[in-house]
Amino acid sequence: MPSASTSVLHFSGHQHLRYRLVLSIISGKPVKIDKIRSDDKNPGLRDYEVSLLRLLERVTNGTIIEISVTGTTILLKPGIIAGGPIAHECPLSRSIGYFLEPIIMLAPFAKKPLNLTIRGITSDDQDLSVDLMRTVTLPHLQLFGVSEGLELRIKKRGSSPGGGGEVQFLCPVVKQVKTVNFVDNGRIKRIRGIAHAVRVSPQFSNRMIEASRSVLNRYIPDIYLYSDVYKGEDSGKSPGYALSLLAESTTGAIHCAEAVSKPGVTPEDIALLASRALLKEVSRGGCIDRKHQTLALLWMVLGSEDVGRVRMGEPSPRTIQFLRDVRDFFGTSFKIVPADKSDPDCSELLFSCYGTGYVNANRSLA
């Protein structure tokens, strides 16, 4: 038997669990992750991690997940990515973003177009809110040629802690992602935003818009901040509000930021926080949003056997670890050089790599 049992990759710790699982499923290499909170008072996997594993198992066919008795070690033997209609109920400990982010990385390589209905908290302060997913993540996918039939419908909103939101994610299947060459970040030409408030006074969203404009108006006139109000059944079980902002450049580079309501903070403060975070994000530069670095890098690696290049700001710690893990899974390392050699204090970097020529083998012809 020609090495049916390929060598299992070993990782430790609960950090970076999500994309390690994603990398494993995409590359087809089994992964073993141990020491998951082994020193913690409450060792082992959390409920949301177990839920994620369950979701991954449902999205794939033939995946074998073994969890040790203590829950501190998992072994994932990936199957193929199946796709199709799936429904998932998220625990209230994490928002929908936590689950949707890894799924988005996988979905275009499935056998059938994915139609995922997912219920839970739609926005919180840890993961991307569904608004940003819809307005920022999906345009990032379009860079890689995943566009036709790509949709994220926010059917219901649900704030923490009660949840009750529902989104539907539709993703087409591609044969191969396009090689990107995105080195011109252009200049910001418009700013958009969504302010939403559920189960609170609809005036809140207007107040947020007002405050945000006070910061951003100085730069550009083309600012539209939408007030998005969901009522009744569609507004979930808990009150909350948030402001998501995105800045789009002339070449289509998008940067985003958002802030979510906290108890005892006025909507104005939330808006200021979001606006300033956006400015900070913009000042970092690059063509890819900081929160989407991993997504872009992963798909660059999966591109055809050509050189893909992307200009980005400084990598986040997650990205750095991700780069290391990508090398373990695919053997691909990036060339990272300062984007502007002549400018000594340019913090932007040019990431280039040679794609692995990953072809979606799951896609069927029949």
Binding site: P2, G97, Q126, N181, R187, P344, S364
Partner: protein, 1107 residues
């Protein structure tokens, strides 16, 4: 067919083979045995190299033109070889015996080609001299051509080779053929364009001899394969598959110097007239004049079995030397330590050995004193084996090898200095390993200069292949890395690098100064063990971090835990730090990023994005790229003057383009889809080249792998020992790269069609041999058909003249990969061996093939529409599983299972749409899923001593025949006489009341038989005597009449018979005449068409001549 008129509907394929130095084209010579393959091969080699090979084995690479090389490979008649060759050949010379016609192998091979992507094929007709008569020859040619064209395409090239002269085909014909080959254009094939592969032209066993000896040759081997890379880039970490051996792991890949390099301007200049005729040939597996040589080794074929004590076999100098080499029982270091080398004859003290780098100097001038001691001699020659200095020719005493042949090819790719010498070679500086590069000062004779070198080549040293003995006298010519090449080119083109020395220095300074501020991200991320946070926080703190690490001998273990839960979470968003964001209240800071918005003033930091941001992305990239390149080359135009000038030029360029776009003919500038795609591809290829241009070779290989066209050495580990033991160079050895997806196993669903020439049908669950991707393996397919898009329904046999699906377990191949299947690959298998062809549709981890199963039961109690059914299930549990299922009786009454009954076990209550009969059989139609068997048996033909004798899983019938077993007979399945009791039906009874209401016509008219005699019956009849007489007379008359009629009929028959005979005679005469007539007509018509054809042909040939 001209290219212009052809419509292109598909998007173009990317050709990943580089244009500047492509790998040699593989030309395979294929045909049935005895057709003249070897003769053709030798003729071709002769044509290209002016050399005659005694024995041509394995791939032979020759230079065929300025930009072209050819690797010839002869394919033997083994099916496995044909499959493998078909997968790698770029051009096939398909040999056909003209005196015999097509043979089965030819058609089989063509079918294999078809399913794996069709390379170019040229037919070659041989043995035409055996046909003496010109007319027959012409007819044969025509007939064969017609068949060949239908098999390949109309107008396919077919060559005619007449007789054999001097063991070769006529030179003019070969020249013609070689011209056709040289102008051949090759279309990229999808599979080869997505996989790296290599046709090994040399194989070495690197396993330590001791290990082999200890395990009696049964240990797994470490093997190196050499060859030109083809297809896509070969990267480390990819699995490789060697067809006939299995999946193997690459340990290392090394780029070697090209053993058969293309001539460049420089080498042409230095080529001497005497050398003109000796052109390059690279054929390590072939035997050239008793000595097999290649770039890094010389092999001497030793007659008979080479055993050490064998004194009666005459031993030449070479053999003796080799044996001396083997006699070594001390290491080099010992030898060196013991050696008493005096620098001069008059020296009083031998040189002392200093075990340091200065040792080299001690060795540099010892050629004079070398032959002092025999012992030493042995040592030294061993050194030569390790370190490739060319002193063997210089000394002249070591080996008298065929110097011409030895030195000639070496000279070609090595240092250009010693080309075309006729005298003994001038000692020159050996090209050397990169690592020891720096510590060489002289160009004199050198020996192993460091132990590390020794260690490396040591592996190579002890690798006997078969009975070959080898002394790698020029090993590192091959190892020659690019640094060497750079060295050489640098030396020649000194002015160029000198030219911008200043610029380089400036750049270096810049980089150096920047390094202080800037992080080297690549090494920080990939080569350091710092945590991401550490990398980001500061490089300055790294040093302090290190200190900390040293200090923290005892670290608080739960420190990270103390930071808190939130910190540790796997979050996408970084927490918003309010304090940090407060700084954005600062006006200055807010204004500082104004230039990032379109409303802000354009700063000179971004000139490119200024005016033409609506430009195409690609264009922008290109500008950027060029800008970068320019910067690199000319060390940044520092003064603003030039910067402005360039910016202006760029702007002008953009404006010009815009103008051109607007005012030029829009139609002409608009490209069609195909052209557009092609352009895009070209641009991307250019970018691929440019991106890693400045990176050094080694790093580039890490990032993008080894490019096709390079000559590489691939080290494979854990190779089965049989591959080496039973190695036969006449069987092609291929190394195919496997995509990550193809390493895995799963169920493959394929569309398959039984080949129309394969005589038997294929049966589900019979093992079948697949040739899919690089692999050849046996698996067990299940055939199926799509049943109204509802289910995949199993088929017992493949349908006639129709595609069906097959599903089997095996290594995954990408959808749309073609394959062909065989029942047997043995040579003696009768008939056409390709049993099916098809294409992969889908891969999955589970299958959904079902077959129909009918469960039957019988009613044992019947109410109105309800019945109790038994004998369908065995337990109430089973019934529960099928509750609500539809059932049916044989007579067509539909029903439903309701609920299990307590007794008897397994019986249930069912309702029907009508009352069923006790005699009815009730059945339930169900679908039973059948997964294919998880059977995968790779064909390891190269591991066998007799390559054709591979046998896999046998059919059940074969096993029974071999074992002498009879098919098991189930008693229940035997045919028995069915005894059916006659059925008695009850009489139809119509109730009185109903009868009364019926109309008369419908009333049953059954009356009781009369039980009393009628009046007439009661009366007796008595005849009168006259009446009696009359009756008797009448009877007699009737009898007479009957007799008369019979007689008359007989007479009539006799007459008719005569007539019939007469008619038949006439009929026969008539048909004879008719036949004659038709024949006459057909003859005339045939002549006419023949004349027409000839006329036609004559015209076309004339036209061709005119063209």
């Amino acid at each position: 067919m001209s290219n212009e008129t052809r419509l292109v509907f598909t998007s173009p394929l990317i050709n990943r083979t580089p244009d500047d130095e492509p790998p040699p084209v593989i030309v395979a010579i294929v045909g049935p045995p005895g057709v003249g393959k070897t003769t053709l091969l030798k003729s071709m080699i002769r044509r290209y190299t002016k050399q005659t090979l005694n024995e041509a084995k394995g791939p032979i690479t020759v230079v065929s033109g300025k930009k072209k090389r050819i690797t010839f490979i002869e394919c033997n008649n083994d099916m496995n070889s044909m499959i493998d060759v078909g997968k790698v050949a770029d051009l096939v010379l398909l040999m056909i015996d003209g005196s015999y016609g097509f043979e089965m192998e030819t058609f089989e091979f063509l079918n294999i080609l078809q399913s794996h992507g069709f390379p170019k094929v040229i037919g070659v007709l041989t043995h035409l001299d055996l046909i003496k008569k010109a007319a027959i020859l012409r007819d044969t040619k025509k007939a064969l051509k017609k068949r060949f064209w239908t098999e390949i395409y109309q107008g396919a090239k077919l060559f005619y080779l007449s007789g054999v002269l001097n063991g070769r085909y006529p030179d003019s014909e070969i020249l013609n053929l070689s011209r056709f080959i040289s102008v051949m254009k090759f279309r990229p094939l999808v599979f080869r364009n997505s996989h790296p592969y290599l046709l090994a032209d040399r194989i070495e066993d690197l396993t330590p001899r001791e290990q082999v000896r200890e395990s009696k040759g049964k240990c797994d081997r470490t093997v190196t394969l050499y060859g030109y890379l083809r297809g896509t880039n070969l990267r480390m970490g990819t699995k490789v598959h060697v067809p006939g051996v299995g999946d193997l792991e690459m340990k290392t890949v090394t780029k070697l110097g090209d053993p058969c390099p293309l001539p460049d301007a420089d080498s042409e200049k230095r080529r001497k007239l005497s050398e003109k005729k000796k052109l390059l040939i690279h054929a390590p597996m072939s035997d050239v004049g008793g000595v097999i040589y290649d770039k890094d080794a010389v092999y001497i074929n030793v007659p008979g079995s080479f055993t050490r004590g064998n004194a009666d076999v005459p031993q030449g100098e070479g053999e003796r030397m080799v044996m001396d080499l083997q006699d070594v029982n001390a290491t080099l270091e010992d030898g060196v330590a013991r050696s008493q080398i005096r620098l001069f004859g008059s020296s009083s003290r031998p040189l002392a050995v200093d075990p340091g780098p200065s040792r080299q100097h001690a060795f540099q001038d010892d050629s004079g004193s070398e032959d002092d001691e025999d012992d030493d001699e042995g040592e030294d020659s061993e050194d030569e084996g390790f370190e490739g200095s060319d002193d063997e020719e210089e000394e002249g005493s070591d080996v008298e090898l065929d110097e011409d042949e030895l030195s000639e090819p070496e000279g070609d790719d090595e240092d250009v200095n010693d080309r075309g010498r006729s005298a003994p070679r001038v000692v020159r500086r050996a090209t050397h390993d990169t690592k020891s590069n720096h510590d060489r000062q002289t160009k004199d004779v050198e020996y192993a200069e460091s132990d590390s070198d020794l260690g490396e080549e040591d592996e190579d040293e002890d690798e006997p292949v078969g009975r070959r003995v080898r002394f790698g006298n020029e090993h590192d010519v091959d190892i020659q890395s690019d640094e060497d090449e750079e060295d050489i080119s640098g030396g020649e083109e000194a002015p160029r690098w000198k030219a911008n020395l200043g610029a380089k220095a400036l750049e270096a300074y810049h980089q150096h100064s920047q390094r202080n501020k800037r992080k080297d991200w690549i090494s920080l991320i990939y080569n350091s063990s710092l945590t991401p946070e550490q990398i980001l926080n500061d490089s300055e703190s790294n040093s302090s971090n290190l200190n900390e690490m040293d200090d923290d001998f005892f670290t608080v273990k739960s420190r990270s835990g103390a930071i808190g839960e939130d910190e540790e979470k796997d979050m996408t968003k970084e927490p918003l730090n309010e304090e940090e964001l407060k700084q954005w209240e600062d006006e200055e800071l807010l204004d500082s990023i104004r230039n990032l918005f379109i409303t802000g003033s354009s700063s000179d930091a971004q000139p490119a994005a200024d005016g033409d941001y609506e430009d195409l992305e690609g264009d922008a990239d290109f500008e950027d790229l060029e800008a970068n390149g320019a910067e690199d080359a000319s060390s940044q135009p520092a003064d603003p003057e030039t910067a402005r000038a360039t910016a202006l030029a760029a702007k002008k360029e953009a404006l010009k383009r815009k103008f051109d776009e607007q005012y030029d003919d829009p139609e002409s500038s608009k490209l069609d889809f195909y052209e557009e795609k092609k352009e895009e591809m070209a641009r991307q290829l250019l970018l691929n080249r440019a991106e890693f241009e400045d990176v050094d070779e080694e790093a580039r290989a890490l990032v993008e792998g080894y490019r096709p066209g390079t000559y590489v050495r691939v080290e494979l580990v854990n190779v089965p020992c049989e591959m080496i033991e039973n190695f036969d160079p006449t069987y092609p050895l291929i190394l195919g790269g496997v995509l990550p997806a193809e390493e895995r196993f799963g169920y493959l669903q394929v569309r398959i069609k039984r080949h129309r020439w394969f005589t038997k049908t294929l049966k589900t669950n019979d093992p079948l041999i697949f040739s899919l991707g690089w692999r050849r393996f046996q698996s067990i397919p299940i055939y199926s058909l799509d049943d109204h898009s509802i289910r995949m329904r199993m088929l017992k046999y493949t349908p006639e003249h129709m595609h069906c699906y097959a599903t089997f377990y095996g290594p995954v191949a990408l959808p749309n990969t073609g394959f062909c299947a065989f029942n047997s690959l043995a040579d003696n298998a009768p008939g056409f061996r390709v049993s099916a062809t098809g294409v992969v549709l889908d891969i999955d981890r589970s299958t959904k093939i079902v077959k129909k199963i009918k469960l039957t039961g019988v009613p044992y109690k019947i109410f109105k529409n309800t019945a109790f059914i038994k004998d369908m299930f065995n337990s109430a549990l089973e019934v529960a599983k099928f509750e609500g299922a539809n059932i049916r009786t044989v007579s067509g009454i539909r029903g439903q299972i309701k609920k299990a009954l307590a007794k008897p076990e397994g019986s249930f209550r069912a309702t029907f749409e009508d009352k069923v009969l006790m005699s009815d059989i009730v059945f339930l139609r169900a679908w039973h899923s059948i997964p294919p068997r998880k059977f995968y048996n790779p064909i390891t033909s190269l591991l066998l001593s007799e390559k054709g004798s591979w046998s896999g899983m046998r059919l059940t019938g074969q096993v029974r025949r071999d074992e002498g077993l009879k098919a098991p007979l189930d008693v229940n399945s035997t045919y028995k006489k069915i005894e059916r009791a006659p059925r008695r039906f009850n009489t139809l009874k119509i109730p009185k009341k109903l009868q009364a209401e019926l109309p008369y016509a419908s009333k049953p008219k059954l009356m009781k038989p009369q039980n009393r005699q009628t009046y007439m019956q009661k009366r007796a009849v008595v005849l009168e005597p006259e009446e009696k007489k009359a009756i008797a007379l009448l009877q007699q008359i009737r009898a007479l009449r009957k007799d008369q009629v019979v007689k008359r009929k007989e007479k009539q028959n006799e007459r008719k018979e005569v007539h019939r005979q007469k008619v038949a005679r006439e009929e026969a005469k008539k048909t004879e005449k008719d036949k004659e007539k038709r024949k006459e007509y057909m003859r005339a018509a045939g002549m006419k068409t023949k004349r027409d054809n000839e006329k036609e042909e004559g015209r076309s040939s004339k036209r061709r001549k005119k063209d």
